[in-house]
Amino acid sequence: MSNNEMTPSDRTPEDRTPDQDQPVPDPGLEPYVERFSDADPDAGRRVYRQIVTMYGLAPILAVAFVVCYFAIPRDAAVRIGPLHTSAMNLALGGTAGLAILLIGLASIHWAKQIMEDREVVEERHPVASSAQDRREMGAAWRAGAADSRLGRRKMVGLALGSALGALALPALVTLADLGPKPTSKVRAETIERTIWAEGVRLVNDVTFTPVKAAEMQIGELVNAQPENLKKYHGAEQQTERAKASIIIVRMDPASIKIPDSRRDWQVGGILSYSKICTHVGCPISLWEQQTHHLLCPCHQSTFDLGDSGVVVFGPAARALPQLPITVDSEGYLVARSDFTVPVGPSYFERDSRHDFKKGDN
């Protein structure tokens, strides 16, 4: 290394004044060791060649970019193993990206291997401004305060303060638009009820065909809605659908547990449950017909539809609400009433005393 400055490696810990106020003694710097590219002329030349080559490839890639731009048909596609992409995108991105990458690599290589390798120490300077700056700042502040004459006309300051403070009021009042206040009356009309009611037919989601009990087979799953959902439109329909969605399953009555209190909620092993997870409300229809387990894809809560929808796994805290159903005079499935408990996720005021718990009868 050819420089006549004192490199930090020339300073050993001994010839420094010990910093008494530092918690740990300064260990000094590691001794300086030359790079390969400085110590070995061959290595130096090799690095030099590498850098020039990398820079030299960039213009070639730039030309290749232009050629690809005109030569490749816009709709050509390539498949390379799992990669399935537009040939044009791949070629343009590949050439331009590689050119920029090579320029970057060459620059860093140059900085690290060829540029001057002198190591320097930069001491940290204190963060605080100098005492003089602080004095001047204080004086300017006081002079400004005196010029404002606030000391003599105090009401101006007070008036400004209350003017700004009062502006918080409009901002706060508009928060009322976040929604109706969830009083118990509002809750009872919104999240605590659905459009299910006595006699409402269970119809297939999408096609709206009513479901005949006799046509359901064991192991069958139907994603269903209340027939009266058709009466709603737009946002209102979405709101009602979000609460009223159900799944209907048919299981062999001998293979499931039906509590006495829910004997007449089902028709020969046909049971209907809310489709809305009681954890945070994802729609669930991932039902395993052999285990009777219904798995929520969001956080893996699992409900046993063969046991009144109790939670067998996962973060959900409450059983899936069951919809009491029966058949009408034509043999179609109809609801006996609305859900007996609110469907969907928990909320602060929810009364969870009426939910089905494992072992209830």
């Binding site: 060791v33 030359e34 790079r35 390969f36 400085d38 110590a39 070995d40 596609a77 799992p82 990669l83 399935h84 992409t85 537009s86 995108n89 860093i108 690290k112 291997q113 297939n204 989601d205 999408v206 096609t207 065909t209 479901v211 005949k212 006799a214 046509e215 359901m216 087979q217 064991i218 192991g219 069958e220 799953l221 139907v222 994603n223 399953v249 669930i284 229809s285 991932l286 039902w287 395993e288 017909q289 052999q290 285990t291 387990h293 798995l295 894809p297 893996q300 699992t302 796994f313």
Partner: protein, 151 residues
């Protein structure tokens, strides 16, 4: 053999070709098939029919290369954990529409790079993030390194 098995128990017949053939489906019917698929099937089979995992090591198979006949049969019989979708609520016409939707979806060219299974922007973005940020971290480590020395 099939006749012998059929003689042992009742069960759905092997479907005729016209029960699952998608010939003559209109664009509306295919779109309706998409609605039916998303409502009834996508929970397990993924939104594009690429399959998915179920509890305890079982899985819903990919439908990418499943024939219309096999889709029809699976819906009517409910193999393994799959529920039955019987003709009372899911007519032959509905099944056809679903098969038509799958065929139409799978026939669409997808030249957007690596196909991660239509798993959605969040999961695909996560991969992009891991690979992109990972590369940035490696580059930063290289930049900050002192480089090799002769001793």
């Amino acid at each position: 053999m099939a006749a012998y098995v059929a003689s042992l128990s009742p069960g759905p017949r092997i479907p005729d070709a016209e029960q699952y053939s998608t010939a003559g489906l209109t664009a509306e019917q295919i779109a309706r098939g998409g609605e039916l698929f998303r409502t009834n099937c996508s929970a397990c089979h993924n939104i594009e029919g690429r399959g998915g995992a179920l509890p305890n090591g079982s899985y819903a198979p990919s439908l990418m290369n499943t024939s219309g006949k096999h889709i029809y049969e699976a819906m009517r019989t409910g193999p393994q954990q799959m529920p039955v979708f019987a003709s009372g609520t899911m007519t032959d016409q509905d099944v056809k529409a679903i098969i038509g939707y799958l065929n139409a979806t799978h026939a669409q060219p997808s030249d957007g790079g690596f196909a991660l299974g239509g798993i959605g922007p969040v999961s695909e973005g996560l991969w992009g993030w891991i690979i992109g940020v990972g590369a940035c971290v490696l580059a930063a480590i290289w930049l900050a390194r002192k480089g090799t020395r002769s001793r």
